[in-house]
C-alpha cells in the first residue's frame, strides 16, 4: 500500500469533555469531503478525559493532515491514527428476530453458538442476539439469520485500542501531569 492508496484507518483523539467538540471534529472531515464511517465518543482511562474513535477509508496522506487538524483544536490533548494491523478493534451488533424462530428447532441456538454470539433477551414476540467482533463477523451472523427474518439490526461504531503497550495515552498522561 502506498500513501496515495485509500485504506482503512482508525483515528483516536483524547479530548476534554466539551459541548460542540464533536462538531468541531466532524467539520474537519466535511471540509475535505471525507466520509466518516463511524465515530464513537466515550470516557477514556483518564479521569475526565474523553476519547473519540473515528473510522475512515482514506489515503494515509489525507489522514495525516486530518489528524494534525484535529490535534490543533483547543480542547484536543492528543490525536493519532492507526492502520488496521496496529489496533485491536471491535464492533457490537444487535439482531432482533421473531421468537417463533426459536420454536422451529435448535437451528438458531446452533448459529448463535457457532458465531460466539449470545442471547441478550428473549421476550414474548422477539429475541435479541448480541455479537461483538470484526465487521465481517457481525455481517456473517447477519447473513445466517436472514432466513429467520430480521426485524431490526444495528451495529455500533468501531472501538479500538492500539497494539502498543501504552499508545498515545502515555503522551496524554505527560500533558496531564504537567498541568
Amino acid at each position: 500500500m502506498t500513501r496515495m492508496q485509500k485504506e482503512e484507518f482508525t483515528i483516536t483523539a483524547y479530548t476534554e469533555n466539551h459541548v460542540g467538540l464533536l462538531h468541531r471534529i466532524t467539520i474537519i472531515f466535511t471540509k475535505r469531503k471525507v466520509n466518516i464511517e463511524s465515530i464513537t465518543a466515550s470516557e477514556s482511562e483518564k479521569d475526565g478525559i474523553h476519547r473519540f474513535t473515528i473510522a475512515v477509508t482514506e489515503t494515509e496522506e489525507a489522514v495525516e493532515k486530518i489528524v494534525k487538524q484535529i490535534e490543533k483544536q483547543i480542547e484536543v490533548l492528543k490525536a493519532d491514527y492507526y492502520k488496521n494491523k496496529e489496533v485491536v478493534q471491535q464492533e457490537v451488533a444487535l439482531y432482533k428476530i421473531p421468537s417463533k424462530s426459536l420454536t422451529n428447532g435448535i437451528e438458531v441456538e446452533r448459529i448463535v453458538r457457532q458465531h460466539n454470539a449470545r442471547f441478550l433477551t428473549i421476550e414474548k414476540g422477539f429475541l435479541v442476539i448480541e455479537k461483538a467482533g470484526f465487521r465481517r463477523e457481525t455481517k456473517a451472523l447477519f447473513d445466517d439469520l436472514i432466513p429467520f427474518g430480521i426485524n431490526e439490526f444495528v451495529r455500533s461504531g468501531r472501538i479500538a485500542v492500539s497494539r502498543e503497550e501504552h499508545g498515545i495515552g502515555e503522551y496524554v498522561e505527560q500533558i496531564l501531569s504537567k498541568s
Binding site: 476534554e16 460542540g20 462538531h23 493532515k65 483547543i74 480542547e75 496531564l176 498541568s179
Partner: protein, 579 residues
Amino acid sequence: MKIMESQIVTKQNKKINTEFINGAEAVVKILIEEQVEVAFGYPGGAIMPIYDALYDEQDRIQHVLARHEQGAIHAAQGFARVTTKPGVCLATSGPGATNLITGLADAQIDSTPLVCITGQVPSSLLGSDAFQETDVIGISMPVTKWNYQITDANEIPEVLAKAFYIARSGRPGPVLIDITKDAQFQKFDYSYTCFKKIRSYVPKPEIDLSSIEKAASAINNAKRPLILFGQGVILANAEKEFKNLVEKTGIPSAWTILGLSALDTDHPLNVGMLGMHGNYGPNLLTNECDILIAIGMRFDDRVTGNLSKYAKQAKVIHLEIDPAEINKNVKADIPVLGDAKETISHLLKLVKLNSHEKWLQRFIDCAKIEREKVIDKELNPDSETLSMGEVINIINKHTQGDAIIVSDVGQHQMVACRYSKFSKSKSNITSGGLGTMGFGLPAALGAKLGAPDRTVIAVIGDGGFQMTIQELATIYQTKAKVKILLLNNEFLGMVRQWQQLFFEKRYSSTEMINPDFQTIVKGYYIPTKKVTERDKLEKSIEEFLNFDGAYFLEVMVGKENNVFPMVPSGAGVSEIRLE
C-alpha cells in the same frame, strides 16, 4: 451602578475579592482588564445589556459604531493587524452574528487575533426559533479558532479570559463568545484573573534544537539559498531577528503579501513579491534555488502555483509555529517548529556570516528584465490614461515608505502590494487568504484607530468600495483621518483581466455603471477630489496627503489595464508571464 463587594473562598482555600455585578457589567470590566481601548460593533436586542454597561465606561472604552457588522469586524481586523492586539467586536444575535461570518473567515485564514462577543436569545428560548435566534456557535465553528456559548454569568470571567488568551497566543485567530441575554442580566460574584495556560492547548511547540542545527548546516552549505517570509515574522514580532538573519547569511529574501513590510522594501536583500502577480526573479528562481527557507508562511496556492512544478530541485526548510502547516502543501525536508522569534534567534547563532553575490546578481538581472518589460510601463505609462502604478509611485515619493497602506481586493491590491514602499513593519494591511472585497475601507478605519499617529491610506477599487461604502459614515462619525484612494477603472478589473486572457474577452458582468462617487462621499461630509489627467495627479495627491482629516481622492485609471507579471492558473512559478 451599585456594586456589592464580598469574598468567596475557592477550592484552594484562597480568598478572592469579588463584586456582585451582572454578566454584562462583568464583560465590560473584563474588556478593561484586558486593556481593550477600542471596540467595534453594532447594538441590537440580545446584546443591549452589554451596551448598557458600556455606557458607563465610555471614557475607558471607545465604542466605534459601524454601519454594518461586517464593517465592524473588518475594522477590528485592521486594528488588530497594526497593533497585534486582539481586535474586539460586538454584535447582536441572529443577523448581527451572521454578518460577522465573512470577517471571521478572513481573520481565521489570515491568523488575525479577534475576540467577538455576540448576544444570544435568553437561554430558556434556545432552540425554539425565537426572534433573531441563530445557531451562531454552529455557523461560526469552521471559521473560528475557538468559540463558546455562555448561558450562566458565572462562566463569563473564565471563558472570556480563555478567549483573549486563545485569540492572541500561538498562531493567532478569531474567537467568538456567544452570551445569552439572561446571562448578561444575571448577577453573580465576579472576580477576574487572566489565563496563561490551557492543558490541552500548545500555543508554541517546544523547539527541537537538532532541527535548528540541521537547518543551520543546510543554510551554511547552500550555494543558491532563497528565503520566503510571511506574516509569521510579523506576528512573532521577529522583524529585528529576521533582518539580522537575512543580513548575516546574505540570502535573497522574498515575501508573501502578508509578510510584506516585515523587511524594508528597499533592503538590498529584499528581492520582492512571491506568487501569481509577484516579481519575476523570486518566482523564476524558486525553481533554481538549492535551499528554500520558508519562514512563517504556509505555501498558499497563490504563492506556489502548480505544486507539481514547485521547487522540486530544492531542499525545503520550513520554520513554522503551526504543526498542521508542515507538509500540508509542500513537503519540508527540515521542519523547524516554533515561534519565529525564538527559532530565528537560535538559528542566528549557528549560521555563518556569508554572502551570495553571484546568486543575488541573478535576482538583480531578473529585476532589470521586469523593469524594462513591466514596471517602467506601469510607473511611467506612455498611454493617455493613468495607471494604478503611477498613482502608488507618487504616493511613495511623498510618504517615503512611512504610511500604512490598507488595500482591498483585486487589481489595485496587487499593484499596491507590488509597488508600495515600506520602511516600517505591520504597515501593509490586506485581505490575503480569503480575498474579501469590502475589507479595505473598514480595515483602514480600524488601522487608523490602532495607529493614530501614522498616515493610513486605504487603496480601494470601485468594486470593493461599494461593498462596504456605508462605513464612510463611521469614518465621519469617528473623525478618523483616513485617506481614501479610489482607483476607479469602472470594471471588476481582476475578473475582467481573467476574462480577457482566459475567457476570450467575454466580459460577463464585470463592467460597472457606477454612481457619482464624488456626490456620495460629499453626502458623508468627507472632502473629495477626482483626477482624470496626469498633470493634476501629483498636486492632488499632495493635497490628499496633507489635508488634516479624512479625504477621498478618486483617480480614474485605464479601464482595461492588466496586472503583470502573472503566473497563469495551473502553471508553475517559473512559467511566469511578463506580458
